[in-house]
Structure formats: C-alpha cells, structure tokens
C-alpha cells in the first residue's frame, strides 16, 4: 500500500448513555490495519458497550465513527459489510445447521461464491464437515463457538470484533484462537478482542486499550512482558471496580 493507508477504524468522542447510566464517556480511538488489540478492563468498565458501538450494533449517543474511511451514519450498509462481530452469544439459530446458518448470513451480506466461501470458512475455524450438518443446538459449547466465529468471519470483514471469546474454550482451543487472530492480522485485518484477563491478552495482542468506568484509561503496547504502566493501569482499574 502506498502512502498513508486509511485507518481501519476511527472513533471521535464516542459516548453512550443507557437512560441515567453513562456506559461510555467521550472516547477517541484510531485502529490501524493489521492491529491486534486487546480491550481490557474489569466487568462493567464499558468493554462490551464500546465493542458493540464498533460493531455497529449500538449507535453512540455522541461522536462519529468511520470504518475504513466510511462514515457509518452516512453509508451504513457499506460500513456494516466491513465489520464482523461475535458476542457472548454465538448469534446462530439453534435449529439450523452451522452450514444453513452460514448460508443465511452469507446471503444477508451478499457473499459471492457462497458455497466455496463457506467451505473455506469452516476449515478456517476447524469445524468438521459432519458437525456442520447437524443442528447447532446438538454441538458442544466449543464447537458452537467455532461455528459462531465462522459466522462472524464469513464475509471477510476488515475489522473483527470479539467479546471474551476465550470463555468456554479449553486451553487447546484458546491456543487455536490465538493462531486465528494472528493469521487474520497478518492478512492486514484488524482484530479487537475484549477480555478481562491480562495474561490471555498478552498472548495475542500487540496493543491494549484499558477501560475503566467507561473511560479509556490507557493505550499501551503489549509485549511478552507487559509494559509496567499497563500492568499498573490494569491493576488500578480492577481495584477501582471493586
């Protein structure tokens, strides 16, 4: 890419209120392509709110958001195609098979060469073909998680957002998830993972955003040994939550 590439995601003074409660205070952020971001913070810090805003599932009370330079208010459908999101819930229809779910979402997103894309995605998340042919409700939690992830990445989003995806995965599957994040980021896509576990974030992220009380408290690089400020910021955020 020549010159300064358009950032994957730019948010300016994003905030969100739920009735009387302010879940997110004026937040600015700028995520580059290929960034692997951990969104850290204790429960109730506003991680999910921010993630849902970035996923375009929630509109901010104030502020503007651009995905790959596209204003999400002006050109919502175009921007929505560029974002993939998996929350605590897999977002799958229990009575349909994983493949049927993917076919449905693929049509909504206008995925081309749908069947090949589904095959490719299923192998990407390592969901065995036999598991893709039975209703989702019969799958184990881990397999459902993989199928949900397949749903989130089927349309090859430029920004992939995950809310505590490690929950319910065994250590082996967590390792696999790290591999997926790395492969995805290597393809110049941005990955944002919300988690409250600093140790887990260290394994995949190269940058961490720490949220406390609805405000962005720190934006620091993550290494094998965490930046002392990061560990400090995270600890105080957790303590503040207590």
């Amino acid at each position: 890419m020549s010159g300064e590439p358009t950032p994957a995601l730019v948010g300016a003074s994003l905030s969100r209120r739920f009735g009387t409660r302010t879940a997110l205070r004026s937040t600015d952020l700028r995520l580059a392509r290929g960034d692997r971001i951990a969104l850290l913070g204790p429960n109730g810090a506003g991680k999910t709110t921010l993630l849902r805003i970035l996923a375009l599932a929630l509109s901010p009370t104030t502020g503007t958001l651009r995905v790959a330079g596209i204003d999400v208010k002006r050109e919502a459908p175009r921007a929505r195609r560029l974002v993939g999101f998996i929350s605590h819930k897999t977002g799958l229809y229990d009575d349909l098979t994983a493949r049927e779910n993917l076919q449905f979402y693929g049509r909504l997103y206008g995925v081309e060469a749908l069947e090949q894309s589904i095959d490719r995605t299923l192998s990407e998340v390592a969901l065995p073909p036999t598991s893709a042919r039975v209703p989702v409700r019969t799958l184990s939690r881990g397999m459902q998680q993989r199928a949900g992830l397949a749903r989130a990445i089927l349309h090859e989003p430029a920004v992939l957002l995950m809310d505590e995806p490690e929950t319910g995965l065994d250590p082996q599957a967590q390792e696999w998830l790290v591999g997926l994040v790395n492969r995805w980021a290597a393809a110049d896509r941005t990955v944002v993972v919300a988690t409250h576990r600093l140790d887990w974030a260290q394994r995949f992220a190269d940058r961490a955003l720490v949220l406390e009380n609805g405000s962005l408290k720190a934006d620091l690089p993550v290494g094998a040994s965490p930046h002392p400020l990061l560990a400090e910021a995270y600890r105080s955020a957790v303590e503040a939550a207590w």
């Binding site: 739920f18 009735g19 009387t20 302010t22 408290k217 720190a218 934006d219 620091l220």
Partner: protein, 236 residues
C-alpha cells in the same frame, strides 16, 4: 434566596384557568337554562363535550410530540408527548364517566355500545397501553422511542376506528351533539363555548406543570449521573 419550583408561566396560566373555571361553573349552574326535555341532567353536556374535545386534542399532541421526538431526538418532545398522553387518558376517563352518568337517566342504561362511546373506549385502551408500554420499558431513551412509535401508530388508528365502529353500529348517537347544535339556543352555545375554552385552559395548565415536572426529573437524573466519579485522564 428563592427557589423557582413551578414553570415560568405556571401561576398566571393557573390563575386564568381557575378564574375561567369559576366563571364557567357559574354559567352552567346559574346562567344557562336547563334543557326542556332532559332537565337538569343535561348540564353534564357542558363538561362532557369539552372533555371529549380535549381528549382528542391531547392525543393529537401526543402524535406531534412523537413525530418531533423521532425527528430531533430531543427529550423535550417526548416530555410533551408523555404528559399529553397522561392528561388525555385522564380526560378520556372523565368523558366515559360523565357519559355514563348522563346516559343512566336519559337512556336508562349506564352503557350502550353506540359508535361514539365505543370509539372513545377503544381510544382509552390504546393510550392506557401507551402508558403501560412507557412504564414497562426500563431504558429512558428506548421508552421515549417506543412511545413515539406507538404515539404515531395509535393515532393512525383513530379515523379507522371511527369509520369501522360507525358502520358497525349506527343506532342513535348522533342525537345530542350534531343534531342539537344547529338549533342550540344562544345561552347554551355561549356556555358551551366558555366551558370549552375553560377546559382547554385547564389542559394547558396541566401540560405546563406536567412537562415541567418531567423536566425537573430529567435534570435530577442528570445531576445524579454526573455525581459519579469523573473519568481519570487517559494516557493516550
């Protein structure tokens, strides 16, 4: 040091409405002669008809507030819609109760399924549903949004209900208002006009205070919300 608790034009408007109420009551009881056929009971008419007018006006104001809210997303519009729905339900209840009191001696029944009464009752249910929807939706913003949608959807039903009920039951109801009006004696016409103006002023007063109260509640919420610890400065 004085605290202003009421709305700015509250006292003047309330005084005018109060004075007008006394005047209207005096006219109803002492000025206008009793109806030749129905006797003293017919005087309910001077409150019943204005109340019905206010009920429809109030629900129209709900519609306006609802459209305004969806258009500008300003809670001020929502306060108007919500207050007007409450007052509209109050006046609709009044219409139904007064109608019953009037119907008993005249038609010898508390209730009859004539077109006008039935439409009013259906309207009462729609706006009671509106208030329930508002009360059962916890999030304030969502409550305002849902209320606005129902305020539009509900009012769109008013003409349809009117025609369907009219076609369904066209027995006698036109009687008093429509047929009587052209030959209404001057005293009756004047009293009805004064009563209508009075009830409209009362509605305006209620609205002013109710909207103001909601405004204070919102401000109070904002104060409570901002009392939370201020955000720590970001390192970013």
């Amino acid at each position: 040091m004085t605290f202003q608790t009421g709305p700015r034009w509250g006292m003047p408007l309330a005084s005018i409405a109060g004075t007008a109420s006394v005047l209207a009551l005096a006219m109803i009881f002492f000025y206008v002669p009793p109806d030749r056929l129905q006797g003293i009971v017919q005087k309910i008419f001077y409150l019943h008809v204005p109340a019905a007018w206010i009920a429809y006006l109030a629900f129209f104001v709900v519609l306006v507030g609802s459209i305004g809210y969806l258009w500008q997303r300003n809670l001020a519009w929502d306060r108007v819609a919500r207050a007007s729905a409450e007052i509209g339900v109050l006046f609709t209840t009044l219409v139904l109760v007064l109608g019953s009191l009037w119907a008993k001696p005249i038609w010898n029944t508390w209730w009859t399924w004539d077109a006008r009464l039935t439409s009013t009752l259906v309207l009462w249910f729609i706006y009671v549903g509106y208030l329930m929807l508002r009360a059962y939706t916890p999030d304030q913003e969502r409550s305002a949004r849902f209320g606005a949608v129902l305020g539009i959807v509900g009012f769109a039903d008013v003409p349809i209900i009117h025609y369907s009920v009219e076609w369904w039951r066209t027995l006698h109801p036109e009687a008093v208002v429509v047929r009587a009006q052209p030959q209404l004696p001057a005293e009756m016409g004047i009293t009805l006009a004064v009563a209508t103006l009075t009830v409209t002023l009362v509605y305006a007063t209620f609205m002013l205070y109710r909207v103001h109260l909601e405004h204070l509640e919102d401000e109070n919420r904002d104060l409570e919300a901002s009392a939370e610890p201020p955000p720590a400065p970001a390192h970013a």
